[in-house]
């Protein structure tokens, strides 16, 4: 589908990147159309990262202000992590030193707490696995290809982590941090780059399995609604 294309005509509900025009469902992005019962959506194949609430992102601190941190989240908006979210309710800029937790250049895995059109996205590091990322190799991907890297229910990313003996942190903003033994990191980065290049091909799982030296086999049973996934 390309912008302006009619996906289907009839009684459907327009989802992401779809607009209704009369009874036509029209695509607004370059991508794959997916129709599940009455819902029509387009899975885009290109585009910059636009933050959404509840997304996990990898951010790099670019500025420490009096009340919080500003992080580059690989987007046109700057993520903001308020001091209260780290030090708690009794946070005051005079008693707490913000730089003891994060300084400029530090990496963090954070969740987008809230984002609306009027203000910059607010970050939070409360939650399992969230917080400072002390070390690792940064790999940047096209944000729209992150779902391929994660795979169905995390199948792909777990497989890469297992066979490279690495810890992999994936931000939906297209930043991935790999940490572990040197050989494993090399392997994991290769796998991620393979997914970046061949995200749109059909037997992606097999190719990654071959690269990692993992047993080649089919991914867990696919539901028809996920046909656009791999």
């Amino acid at each position: 589908m390309i912008p302006g294309d009619v996906i289907v005509t009839g009684d459907y509900r327009p989802g992401m990147y779809v607009q209704r025009r009369g009874s036509d469902m029209v695509a607004l992005r370059v991508g794959l159309a997916e129709i599940v019962r009455n819902d029509v959506k387009v899975i885009p194949l290109s585009g910059a990262y636009i933050p959404r609430a509840e997304d996990m992102v990898v951010g790099k601190v670019v500025n420490v202000t009096g009340y919080g941190w500003e992080a580059d989240i690989n987007s046109c908006f700057v993520g903001y992590l308020p001091g209260q979210f780290v030090f708690g309710r009794d946070f005051s800029p005079s008693t707490h030193d913000l730089t003891t937790r994060f300084t400029v250049g530090d990496l963090m895995l954070a969740k987008i707490e809230a984002f609306d059109r009027t203000r910059d996205p607010q970050l939070s590091i409360r939650g399992p696995g969230l917080g400072k990322i002390p070390q690792g190799e940064i790999v940047k991907m096209t944000p729209m290809k992150i779902p391929r890297l994660i795979g169905r229910k995390g199948y792909m990313i777990n497989m890469i982590a297992e066979f490279s003996a690495c810890e992999i942190k994936v931000g939906q903003n297209g930043v991935v941090v790999v940490d572990g033994p040197a050989e494993g990191v090399r392997k994991a980065v290769q796998a991620i780059e393979l997914i970046e290049q061949e995200a749109h091909t059909a037997d992606l799982t097999t190719k990654v399995q071959q690269l990692l030296g993992a047993p080649v086999g089919p991914a867990p049973a696919a539901g028809p609604e996920n046909s656009g996934e791999q």
Binding site: P3, S46, F77, R117, T201
Partner: protein, 247 residues
């Protein structure tokens, strides 16, 4: 035009110049396209949405669309001063305004979207070629769009309405009419006219521009599909999703 109705470059009145389009030619850009239309060679590159600079110009409810049309010093016979000329500033404006109706700028508040149209080699009809390429670059950059935008020019040479003027016809002819539209919505986004047309000639020219534009749209579509869907993979999955729906 000679007595058989053959033009300076051997075309008939309703023929386009050879047209070649490629998407994704500038690696550093978020989206890009190269168009070779007759002797035109134009690269369009899109950056963004990104942070707006200068900050005070940002718009609270939508993206700021910036467009620069520029001709390289070597794009014409005699060296062109690279500083933006009156003509380039005008074309930057009309390209911006021709593309704006197709974009959902309100989806990207407080950001900037920058379009660069760089003319490497120039021929007649470079603004419509620029619009055609920029629309592809915007789609390649993944910006929400209502439709693509297609440009096509018509003109009057020796008292006859002809499609897609080349440089000589543009300069020697008695009028030209650049036209851009959104083919699926059938809405006009650019209509300029230079020279004198009677009302009947104008109507005829507009009709011809639409017909020519649809031919350009076909090639524009193919160029975009070639980048994203060559090799069959995703398009078959689109098909299978639809088939499952029907099953």
């Amino acid at each position: 035009m000679d007595e058989n109705g053959i033009r300076t470059d051997g075309r008939r009145w309703d023929e386009l110049r050879p047209l070649k389009i490629e998407v994704g030619v500038v690696k550093n850009a978020d989206g890009s396209a190269l168009i070779e239309w007759g002797k035109n060679k134009i690269i369009a590159a899109v950056y963004g949405p990104k942070e707006m600079h200068p900050k005070h110009l940002e718009l609270a409810d939508r993206a700021f669309l910036k467009c620069r049309y520029h001709m390289a010093p070597f794009s014409v016979d005699e060296r062109k001063n690279p500083a933006p000329s009156r003509r380039e500033i005008e074309i930057s404006k009309v390209i911006r305004e021709a593309l704006q109706p197709a974009l959902f700028l309100e989806d990207y508040p407080r950001t900037a979207i920058q379009i660069y149209v760089e003319v490497l080699q120039s021929d007649g009809g470079s603004r419509v070629a620029g619009i055609t390429a920029s629309a592809l670059a915007l789609a390649d950059a993944g910006i929400n769009m209502r439709d693509l935008v297609v440009g096509c020019a018509v003109g009057k040479v020796d008292g006859k309405i002809v499609l897609d003027l080349n440089d000589t016809e543009d300069k020697e002819g008695s009028g030209d009419l650049p036209y851009a539209f959104m083919p699926n919505l059938n809405q006009v986004t650019l209509l300029q006219m230079d020279g004198l047309f009677t009302f009947d000639e104008f109507k005829q020219a507009l009709e011809l521009a639409k017909v020519g534009g649809m031919k350009v749209y076909k090639l524009q579509r193919e160029a975009l599909l070639r980048k994203y869907f060559s090799g069959g993979g995703p398009e078959t999955s689109t098909g299978s999703a639809e088939m499952m729906e029907e099953a």
